[in-house]
Symmetry: C2
């Protein structure tokens, strides 16, 4: 049986342990929700003062050039790129994940429509369990295009093999599932997608900064992702879009705002697309929220995704083992794969009273979250989560379950 001392020993050997000091974490809290909103890098307070007092307050309009505000989406994209196996000039940090998905899905359909051999394809394959906004945006796009595109929703990853066929225009998947933490094999799925003549679009919301991703090596076509989860960019910080270099020339998307114009300051009345990844831009970006993305990325520059992955698996393995060891008498069922190759950086357990149990955990300072139906989600962020945190979290969970210290009549708030 593992003990708390074993966990303390793991922390003592942890190569990433020192990075925790770079985050502002409240006392009395074990934060296991970095998969929803990452913790605050301490440096962000100094940086936001600089953007506010100096760049906005003193330099005012001059900061568009002087402070590089106008170039932030691409500069931050280049800084993010190594974390997902992308190169320079391939990522823009901009807008929201929903909007970026709309852009790259539109771009993918446009490219398919432009080739005689794929022009007739009308199916977009995705999962019913995909994060809903991805499905909603695809529904919005296809309904408005009104050209016969339809979503084919599959109910398990095993169906992918058969679902992707000669009718498929695009396969649109979230790499790591938000509820279960199941991780697709990006290389294999992309290869199968290409073999069927379709394009592969990946949502990295629960992957970027959480698991190693290699978009170029795995042959992906398009990707989007989030900066406010594992990348610790701040609440609602702008998302990102990636376009494979081989598609940039043909890429077009309908949200053709002035930031994607070839000559935005010439103020011409005709749209002409910029070259490269600027085509994924649209309008003026929220500079303050955008600038803080850099503070999160700067922490990653001090380590690498292999080290992060190693600790992530150790943390999630430990959590699963301790929960099964100490809560065996309770109706918990593991929703996350045990197999490392298909597990992201979270662990989800279903419990019939999952909502009430999670509320009790939060009241005791163990912050995870709840997703319908029955799922208690625990995210593990190797940059600031300790092995002893895992012990303490399970200790509190066991106490709540053993003592039935949860209120099944608790009202359900909105939880993001």
């Amino acid at each position: 049986m593992l003990t708390k001392n074993d966990c303390t020993a793991l922390d003592a050997q942890d190569q990433l342990a020192a990075l925790r000091e770079q985050f502002a974490l409240p006392d009395g809290v074990i934060y296991l929700d970095g998969n929803s909103l990452g913790a605050r890098p301490k440096k962000s307070l100094e940086r936001v003062r600089e953007v506010l007092a100096q760049e906005w307050g003193d330099d005012l309009i001059r900061s568009w050039n002087k402070a590089g505000w106008f170039d932030l989406p691409l500069r931050l994209g280049d800084k993010l790129a190594p974390l997902v196996g992308a190169g320079p000039g391939e990522i823009a940090v901009t807008d929201t994940t929903s909007l970026n998905l709309f852009k790259v899905l539109a771009g993918a359909l446009h490219i398919q429509a432009g080739k005689p051999e794929t022009a007739g394809r009308r199916t977009i394959v995705t999962e019913r369990s995909n994060f809903p906004t991805d499905v909603y945006m695809a529904q919005g796009l296809t309904e408005w295009l009104d050209r016969g595109y339809r979503l084919k929703l599959i109910d398990s990853p095993e169906e992918l093999q058969a679902a992707v066929d000669s009718e498929t225009a695009v396969v649109m998947l979230t790499h790591v599932n938000y509820r279960t933490g199941y991780m697709h094999d990006m290389r294999a799925v992309t290869a199968h997608t290409h073999a069927q003549g379709a394009l592969a679009l990946w949502d990295l919301a629960h992957s970027a900064g959480a698991v190693p991703v290699d978009l170029n090596r795995d042959g992906a076509d398009f990707a989007v992702g989030c900066t406010y989860k594992y990348l610790n960019g701040g609440p609602g910080s702008p998302a990102f879009a990636w376009i494979a270099p081989r598609h940039q020339q043909a890429f077009r998307q309908p949200l053709s705002g002035w930031w994607s114009h070839a000559a935005p300051f010439k103020m011409q009345p005709e749209f002409a697309p910029a070259n490269g990844i600027r085509r994924a831009l649209c309008g003026t970006q929220p500079v303050l929220s955008l600038a803080l993305v850099e503070c999160g990325l700067d922490v990653f520059a001090q380590t690498n995704m292999a080290a992060i992955r190693k600790k992530s698996l150790a943390l999630t393995d430990l959590f699963i083992r301790l929960v099964e060891q100490r809560c065996a008498d309770h109706p918990l069922s593991l929703a996350t794969p045990r197999e490392h190759t298909v597990r992201g950086s979270q662990v989800s357990f279903a419990h019939p009273e999952g909502y009430a149990v999670m509320q009790a955990l939060i009241a005791r300072g163990v912050i995870g979250d709840y997703r319908e139906p029955e799922i208690m989600r625990f995210g593990f962020t190797p940059l600031y989560t300790r092995f002893v945190d895992v012990w303490d979290a399970v200790d509190i969970l066991a106490d709540i379950l053993d003592g039935k210290k949860y209120d099944v009549s608790a009202a359900r708030d909105a939880v993001t």
Copy 2:
């Protein structure tokens, strides 16, 4: 002839003079570019610390409910509403002006397509001199819809009367022109638009907080606008969308992200639109940039648009008069209407070397901006601009012009 003493006397009588203290303005700068990026409310530094340190840092994910992050777009919309003649539940502060224009233009076309008497209309009337991103977004939308919609670009406001006809689906105009400061008669244009069976969509980027606007009284159908210009929300702060209450029930738009879902946390795989102005939302918003919009709006709560308009006209009148008095020997031509009823809160002068002259002004601390071709733009923000600033700005302009103290070979930077 006016003297500097006359300007000092005007400041002494100015009812709004005390509000200047609420803005952080750098020493040695006369800031006449609030029409591009508003100055920083001093309170924003304290507010951003609160959002960062407490709401994000300490309360983490709980702030979506506890700090009301999720409700910010509508709460700020209600606070902005009185400035543009809107009611509660009619405005969402969200995304960018470009994106909001895309949404409401799509919504307007959808409503027109749904009525037998207007379903066949395919023309969107706008101005060639409209801010380019509005035209680009309309081009993007109509090209992708591929249903025969076409933009009819007019070259002067006088053409509106004839251009709007039984083929017109939507009239899409920027209320105050970004280059010239020309202001449309919203009530008359909307009435003519309605008489022809079309819908009126107004971009208030250079109107909100600058001139009195009364969307409901004037019968407008849709509007969008910017919060980082005259509303002083901060660089790139989220924009706003307004939907007339009578259109909210029928309103649909293709950017159907989870924030516009009727039950966003039920995680259903089918999109179902929320009621009311939430239909204009899409994805997760940049909280930090969004929260600071409130600091700008709080200054407006201490005065009213009638007082702001009175001072705005006095400032622009004074500037025109002083420039014409002191720079009469130079090839300056006024691009802004003299008539109050059609003037916004800026003054633009064309000069053959406008770019170089503006660079010289900026180097001397008089910050306006330049717009192709030849236009020097000066924005007047009554909340923090003094009459003596107008005097000093013209004094420096006259010195630059009289001494030819500008470098016509100056390289052209991107200027937003």
